[in-house]
């Protein structure tokens, strides 16, 4: 009976309680202040070079001709590649196996002779695609360097065979030219691509953890009974809004850092983005709340939150396209709030999409928020009147 005999707390007192909780818990304080900033900058720092340059490749030259030397210097001229001349093939293969070089190129003997005789020699290249980003980059750099080199050789040949016009010779050598553009990330900056998705994924983990800890502070004997016996609605609302506001602020800081600090383009509407951030906070809070009320145990709630959020980066569909995911992955990603947020962020920041185009994703986040209110309502029934519960059971 003593739970009901306590006088109800005013809203101000309830807020004050949250502040005291934050002040006295070093981990909560860290997670709401310096830790995310530190982590955001560290993750960005890893990718800060943005572009991979001078990836080492091994070239084994069996020809030792002027032509082969010219080909090697063409490879070396590519900003993405850096040639290591290696004498023997076994050594070069070992360098490839140990990752010392990312590709191995073998120039055949008599390449120059065969070229002059129009016998089309073939240069073999093996690029390491276990490290896929690097492998793809090397492959395209090689193709490009080789393309220009081939064209030059063909033009020189045509000119020496009596074609007088360079343009005509070029037309024969390169009948179709290509112009490639990378939209929405003009210089193919890998940092912008991966960090702008990784940071929200990290932030979502943070939201869940903060909320589980903040709710966990109210557990007495592994139960919320005494805490929620009175003023359940007010207490929950105040706690969620107090920490939610701080987390939202953190999200805003995150976006400010990305779009002003790192100077990545932001072409869309900030208000849509801020709304998406807010909904993402509430949606993640909802999940944390449901886990906590269900298990009434910090460790267990954290385990389930980990299971849901730790792989969320994989499910975002940024590194691997959603359309190529099997149905289960497509279904599972719907359950993770940040996958909906990231769609809004990409649409707004990269495409400068209209607010209407982001509505479906905002709605999905809103569904999570509604789920949160319903869950809280169910919980209220469970906790608000412990005596009734006991009678029923």
């Amino acid at each position: 009976m003593n739970a009901t005999s306590e006088p109800p707390l005013s809203l101000r007192q309830l807020y004050l309680q949250q502040w005291l909780l934050l002040r006295d818990n070093r981990w909560l304080m860290a997670m709401l202040t310096w830790l995310p900033l530190f982590a955001f900058l560290a993750v960005w720092w890893v990718f800060s070079s943005g572009l991979t340059r001078e990836l080492p490749i091994a070239v084994v030259d069996h020809d030792h001709s002027q032509l082969s030397r010219s080909l090697i210097s063409h490879y070396n001229a590519s900003p993405a590649l850096k040639v290591h001349s290696v004498y023997g093939e076994p050594q070069a293969r070992s360098m490839l196996r140990t990752g010392e070089v990312s590709a191995l190129i073998i120039i055949p003997a008599d390449m120059e002779k065969h070229t002059k005789l129009a016998q089309t020699p073939s240069v073999a290249a093996y690029y390491n695609s276990q490290f896929m980003v690097i492998g793809k980059q090397i492959n395209s750099a090689l193709q490009q360097a080789h393309g220009t080199f081939s064209a030059k050789v063909a033009v020189a040949k045509a000119l020496s065979h009596g074609t007088t016009q360079t343009l005509q010779a070029l037309g024969g050598a390169v009948p179709i030219r290509n112009q490639i553009s990378a939209l929405y990330n003009g210089n193919s900056n890998y940092a912008q691509f991966i960090v702008s998705a990784a940071l929200p994924a990290f932030w979502q983990i943070l939201i869940m953890t903060v909320m589980i800890l903040a709710l966990g502070a109210e557990l007495k004997n592994n139960s919320f009974k005494s805490w929620l016996a009175q003023q359940a609605w007010q207490k929950l609302t105040i706690k969620l809004s107090f920490f939610g506001a701080l987390l939202w602020l953190q999200g805003i800081l995150l976006c400010t850092l990305m779009f002003h600090g790192f100077d990545w383009p932001m072409r869309g509407s900030w208000s849509v983005l801020l709304l998406a951030l807010l909904l993402c906070v509430v949606a993640s809070q909802a999940i944390a709340l449901i886990f906590m009320l269900l298990f009434q145990n910090i460790e267990r709630a954290l385990s389930y939150a980990a299971a849901l959020t730790a792989p969320s980066f994989a499910f975002m569909g940024v590194t691997f396209p959603i359309s190529d995911m099997p149905w289960f992955a497509q279904f599972w990603r719907q359950l993770i709030p940040v996958t909906h947020y990231i769609e809004v962020q990409i649409a707004q920041a990269n495409y400068g999409a209209s607010a209407i185009q982001s509505v479906p994703n905002l709605l999905a986040l809103l569904v999570f928020c509604i789920a949160f209110i319903s869950a809280a309502w169910l919980i209220k029934i469970r906790f608000s009147n412990p005596y009734k519960m006991r009678l029923r059971s």
Binding site: A39, A42, V43, W45, S49, P56, S94, R97, T98, L104, T120, V123, A124, A125, Y126, Y127, S129, Q130, M132, V133, Q143, F149, S150, A154, K157, Q168, L170, G171, P175, R177, N178, Q179, I180, S181, A182, L183, Y184, N185, F193, A198, F202, E299, R300, L302, S303, A305, A306, A307, A310, P311, A314, G317, T319, F320, P321, S323, D324, M325, P326, W332
Partner: protein, 389 residues
């Protein structure tokens, strides 16, 4: 306390700790299933693109048919303006566009080398790469056909002409992950990080100082016994879980096996000791045992990024690389990728092997020192309690 008895006590504590068993057995089973889900199809195929055909000739129609026939691409719409194509890009209906310029056919015939423009949405690198690759190879094929046709019309026999169209060929092959599957790229490395992170959490859940049985144990057993028994126990449990991952799960997803089992075990030994050691150091500093999960969860994404398989180590700032060298997952990922995925022999990964042993020795000694300190701090108060009793 005798070490055998401590071993049994610790084993019982591990088995009774439901949060721990849930993380180790449940977590590892779940991740083995869940994490590869998005990548099961390995490579993105049939990426939708829009075509703007300003030429309308037979050759341009042939090009569009060729693009559509490429396994990487699918022409889903033909539009008349860049704006329309861009609209479809924003709505994610297509991932790229191809522009065939006016007078394309005439310019090709006259040897003026017209320019095909194509673009992809670089918000999604893999999609972008696939589209660019598909369009570049199709355009290359068409160019070769044009050249051959020209040579044939100049009187060169077709069989000869088809080998002559390029003066020097480049025969580029993907080594190792030969079909360039995303699963084969991510799984071998990420699974090591998953083992690493769950081990950190598990030890933290077991050995956090505020746990009541921890203080009792600390009073009865000496720190070296605790470090030894815990490294042994978690090492045993995790060699079981690692065999499950590297054996059963790798085989299930068809991930390549180059290394022999003995070499993998040889590598696992220092890795597990080092990770268990690091975890015991972290555990000493935890205020409550649940916090181990937080540490494991928060460090997982950064750990994946610094292991050198997503972003080349040479492009990562040196300061980060130095800090990352303290994480056992990094040398283990690099060693395992080279040994098991890239066919390196054990001699070629000696550096990583030595690195793991150094970490194993360092973290075990550090854990020992920290436990000594914790014991010294705890003993006086415990003595007081005993006196009172």
């Amino acid at each position: 306390m005798n070490t055998g008895l401590l071993f049994r006590i610790e084993l019982r504590r591990i088995m009774r700790n439901s949060a721990l068993t849930l993380t180790v057995f449940g977590g590892l089973l779940l991740y083995a299933f869940l994490y590869p889900q998005p990548y099961l199809n390995q490579t993105p195929l049939q990426q939708p693109i829009a075509v703007i055909n300003a030429d309308g000739s037979q050759l341009s129609r042939q090009l569009i048919r060729m693009v559509d026939a490429s396994p990487l691409l699918k022409v889903t719409s033909q539009v008349t303006s860049i704006e329309q194509a861009q609209q479809q890009l924003v709505e994610r209906e297509v991932g790229g566009l191809l522009v065939i310029p006016e007078h394309f056919y005439r310019d090709v015939l006259m040897g003026r080398s017209p320019t095909l423009s194509y673009a992809g949405d670089a918000s999604y690198f893999l999609v972008y790469g696939t589209i660019v690759q598909g369009l570049a190879s199709t355009s290359g094929t068409l160019a070769a056909q044009v050249k051959v046709a020209k040579m044939v019309s100049d009187g060169i026999p077709l069989a000869l002409a088809s080998t002559l169209h390029s003066p020097i060929q480049l025969n580029a092959n993907a080594a190792f992950n030969a079909h360039q599957g995303y699963l084969d790229y991510v799984i071998p490395a990420v699974f090591i990080v998953i083992l690493h992170q769950t081990l950190l959490i598990a030890v933290g859940l077991h050995a956090a100082p505020t746990f009541t049985s921890q203080s009792t144990l600390l009073r009865r057993a000496s720190p070296w016994q605790l470090v030894l028994v815990r490294s042994l126990l978690f090492g045993l449990i995790y060699s079981l879980m690692s065999s499950f991952y590297f054996g059963v799960v790798f085989s299930f997803y068809g991930v390549h096996h180059w290394a022999n089992i003995a070499h993998i075990c040889q590598l696992l030994l220092p890795f597990l000791i080092a990770t268990a050691g690091l975890a015991q150091c972290i555990a000493v500093m935890l205020p409550k045992r649940g916090y181990a999960t937080i540490v494991g969860l928060m460090t997982s994404l950064p750990t994946v990024f610094v292991c050198g398989f997503i972003w080349p180590l040479s492009s990562i700032p040196p300061a980060i690389n130095i800090i990352a060298d303290l994480i056992p997952a990094k040398p283990m990922v690099l060693a395992m990728l080279k040994l098991n995925q890239m066919g390196a022999n054990f001699g070629e990964i000696q550096g990583h092997f030595a690195h793991l042993w150094i970490l194993a020795i360092t973290f075990s000694s550090l854990a020992l020192a920290l436990l000594h300190k914790q014991k010294a701090k705890a003993t006086p108060s415990l003595n007081k309690v005993e006196k009172l009793l």
